[in-house]
Structure formats: structure tokens, C-alpha cells
């Protein structure tokens, strides 16, 4: 998984414009359309994989979502963070398109004051470490996988 991610990103960062074409058919970070309903289109054109999304969610090098969010569905992991709101039942509160928008770029979806990183955004902080320059935290596929997983979190 990590290797595929690295290869994908290596291709994607050759040039700004290359990001859009690295994965044929994927929406590039700068081309994501935020609407009144959130981001309605899948970044990959396909539905995400719930099981993969569940793994990306807890992976400290990928989503690392448990750093800030409580999620009772993953209680096999200890120490859930409390910086952000608990995600139990999050699918009852947000639509799929809204969840996608928040994961992609919470500063556009919620408020630009939020601490939450944009996981598919190139609008980053200053002095980005060379390893991560012009790279999104998650790939389009991983975003869709996480969104698919989040839509299962109902109470």
C-alpha cells in the first residue's frame, strides 16, 4: 500500500499540471468542485472500499484520524484523541458529499480556522518538508475509501 502510494505521488509531483494526469480520470486537488451540497462527485469516479478506508482511517502515516477523533467503531485501538468532534454517528449528521468535502479540505468545507488538515489539498502551510512538497496527504483513492467508511458510521 505504501509503495503504491509513493509511486503514485512521485509521478504526481513531476509538475503541478501532472497531478491531474497521474491517475487518469482522478480529479486533481485544484480541480475539486465544492458546491452547496459539498463535493458531490467521487474523486475517482468510483465508490470507495469500506475496508480499505477503515485501515487508512487509523493508519498513523495516512489518515491518522484517531489522533483527533473518537471513533467507537475502532475501539480495538486505544487512545482516541479529542481535538475534533467524535465521529460516532457522523453519517447521520453529514451526507456523503459533505463528508467528502470535509476530508478533502475542511478549511473550505467548515472554516478556515480549523486545525484539521486538508487531506486532498495543495493549499498547505509554509516550509513543507521536501518529502511532501506538492503532495496531498491522501490519494484520491484513499479519500474515497475513507469517505465510504465514514458513511457506515451510523448510530
Amino acid at each position: 500500500m505504501r509503495t503504491i502510494l509513493k509511486l503514485g505521488l512521485a509521478g504526481a509531483c513531476l509538475a503541478g499540471a501532472a497531478v491531474a494526469t497521474a491517475h487518469a480520470g482522478n480529479v486533481a486537488p485544484m480541480d475539486v468542485k465544492f458546491t452547496d451540497d459539498g463535493v458531490t462527485q467521487s474523486l475517482t469516479g468510483a465508490a470507495g472500499d469500506v475496508a480499505k478506508g477503515r485501515a487508512v482511517f487509523s493508519n498513523r502515516k495516512l489518515g491518522n484520524c484517531l489522533a483527533c477523533h473518537v471513533n467507537a467503531e475502532q475501539k480495538e485501538h486505544s487512545f482516541h484523541g479529542e481535538v475534533g468532534p467524535p465521529l460516532d454517528g457522523v453519517a447521520d449528521r453529514y451526507s456523503e458529499a459533505e463528508l467528502r468535502a470535509i476530508v478533502i479540505n475542511s478549511k473550505k468545507a467548515l472554516t478556515d480556522e480549523t486545525i484539521m488538515p486538508g487531506f486532498y489539498s495543495l493549499d498547505l502551510g509554509v516550509r513543507v518538508n521536501k518529502k511532501f512538497t506538492e503532495k496531498t496527504i491522501l490519494t484520491a483513492e484513499q479519500v474515497e475509501d475513507v469517505v465510504a467508511y465514514l458513511t457506515t458510521l451510523k448510530e
Binding site: 487512545f79 481535538v83 453529514y94 467548515l110 488538515p117 502551510g125 516550509r127 513543507v128 496527504i137
Partner: protein, 284 residues
């Protein structure tokens, strides 16, 4: 950035609560007494601070970690302090001097030094940190070689000198020639960095008291440096800690001793004015 075009912008209110200024401060209520001396770990924030209370990082640590700092025999930094004392009395360099040659008894002459660093230095034209002041003494007066920022001898000496101020309130100059440095430090504090796009304030001002995974977020106060971190298995400088934070956010850290880190150190010291110097503190 346009952020309010969504019909679900009504959720903004709730989101903003998590985003800014609504930290639920949850330091514990324990009292830090070291060798019979009570430390100030909770004090009214200085004028102009965005915080209402200022808390030492000690108040956010587990009772087990806290206990290490309460007894100098348990404090794992003390072998380094002893090394610092030995170095204080060691003649080095072409001038044939030790620290003690000029400064004699550190417990008298170094009292209060840590509490007021960084301090403006006219000759240098910029603030001295404790590290740069020690090296200036070594190169200019002792004619000895400078120590590296994070060298064991430097950490031992900053710990030993810092200990002489233990219990004294942090009190740095922020006006006059220090004004522009304080302003620069403040700007850095609020600048989002790295791929994770976070500023110091996102965690240590907006969210202190909350858990970030297994870690209890503190205010990021620097009154206990150099600090023995259990994670490091040794002492580390303030600038090492800054560097670690920036790496976590996937940013390229500034260099130890850089003007940026000196400015940030100054600004952070000013945010923690009134806290007791706890050098050498123990953290996780």
C-alpha cells in the same frame, strides 16, 4: 478563502468551537514542590496574552512523570547537572580560565540568568540565548572552542546554569530592542507550516488540555528547559523541541540557533511570564 458557500454552513458554529479559542483547559490540580520549594505552575496570563491562565507543562503530565521532577534524586537530568558543575570548574582554552575563574560561585552569580533569557546583547546586535551566551564566554573570554547547540556538554552547562534560577519567575524583556524579535516570534507562532498546515497556536493555544491520541496537549511552555524527555532518554534544548514539533507537522524545521528559533523562544518565554523556572524539568 471562501468557506461559507455551503448550505450546511449552519454547522460552522459548532465547527468553530473546535477550531478556535474555546479550549477546555484541563490541567490537573497537583502542586509541584521540589526539594521543599513550591513552584508556580499556574499563574494569571501576562497583559495582552490570549490566554487567561498560564500553566506549566508539568500540570499536563501523568503522576508518574510528574514524580520524577519532584525529587532531585529521581530526576534523571541530575547526572548531567553534575557534569555541568564539573565543567564549570574546568579550565579550558588558551586563556587558562574556567567559568568559575570569572563567575566564581554559580549559585550566587548565575541566579536569575535562565529566567531572563533570551536577553538583548548590544555587542551581538541580537538576543543571546543561554547557549549563545555560554559560547560567547567560551570563545571570547576563555579562548576555548564553542560547543555545538545540542552537545552533551552544552546541555549539561545550560542545565547547571538554569538550575540556579529554579523557582524564579520567567521574566524576559520584550520592549526596546527586543520588540521586533518578540513580534517576529509571535508571527512564527501563528504561521501554519508543513503539509499538515498547522501553527503552534492550533494545538497549544486552541486545544491545550485535550488529548491528541495518547498525548495530553500542553500550552507548550518552555520554563523547564533544557528538559529531560523520557522519549529522548536525555536532555534536549528548546530548539530541539521546536524542531520535533515542526517535523511532526511535516515541515522543514529552522536550524537550532537560527534567528527564527531565537525569536520564537523569546515570544514563548514572554507567554509564560510568571511561571517558575523548572530547569531541568522532566517530561514524557
Amino acid at each position: 478563502m471562501n468557506s461559507t458557500t455551503f448550505k450546511w454552513a449552519g454547522l460552522l458554529t459548532a465547527a468553530s468551537v473546535f477550531a478556535a479559542g474555546a479550549a477546555i483547559a484541563e490541567p490537573d490540580n497537583n502542586t509541584l514542590v521540589i526539594e521543599g520549594q513550591e513552584m508556580v505552575t499556574d499563574v494569571a496570563a501576562p497583559e495582552g496574552s490570549p490566554l487567561s491562565r498560564v500553566y506549566s507543562g508539568w500540570r499536563f503530565r501523568s503522576p508518574e512523570t510528574q514524580a520524577f521532577e519532584m525529587d532531585d534524586f529521581e530526576n534523571p537530568a541530575f547526572p548531567a547537572v553534575e557534569l555541568g558543575e564539573a565543567l564549570w570548574n574546568t579550565v579550558e582554552g588558551e586563556a587558562g580560565k574556567s567559568c568559575a575563574t570569572c563567575h566564581e560561585d554559580a549559585s550566587e552569580t548565575m541566579k536569575g540568568v535562565r529566567a531572563s533569557m533570551p536577553k538583548w546583547n548590544e555587542k551581538r546586535g541580537k538576543p543571546h540565548t543561554l547557549e549563545t551566551q555560554i559560547n560567547a564566554c567560551r570563545t571570547d573570554n576563555m579562548k576555548a572552542e564553542a560547543w555545538k547547540w545540542e552537545a552533551p556538554n552544552m546541555l549539561a552547562m545550560t542545565a547547571y546554569v538554569g538550575l540556579q534560577s529554579r523557582g524564579m519567575p520567567v521574566n524576559v524583556q520584550t520592549d526596546g530592542p527586543m520588540q521586533s524579535w518578540t513580534d517576529k516570534g509571535k508571527e512564527l507562532y501563528y504561521t501554519r507550516v508543513g503539509q499538515l498546515d498547522m501553527s503552534c497556536a492550533n494545538c497549544h493555544e486552541d486545544n491545550y488540555g485535550k488529548m491528541i491520541r495518547a498525548d495530553h496537549l500542553s500550552q507548550g511552555q518552555i520554563n523547564g528547559f533544557p528538559t529531560y524527555r523520557l522519549k529522548w532518554g536525555g536532555l534536549g534544548s528548546i530548539h530541539r523541541r521546536f524542531s520535533g514539533c515542526m517535523k511532526n507537522i511535516r515541515a522543514t524545521p529552522y536550524k537550532r540557533g537560527s534567528d527564527e528559533f531565537i525569536a520564537l523562544e523569546l515570544y514563548l518565554a514572554s507567554r509564560g511570564a510568571g511561571l517558575s523556572v523548572e530547569t531541568p524539568a522532566v517530561r514524557n
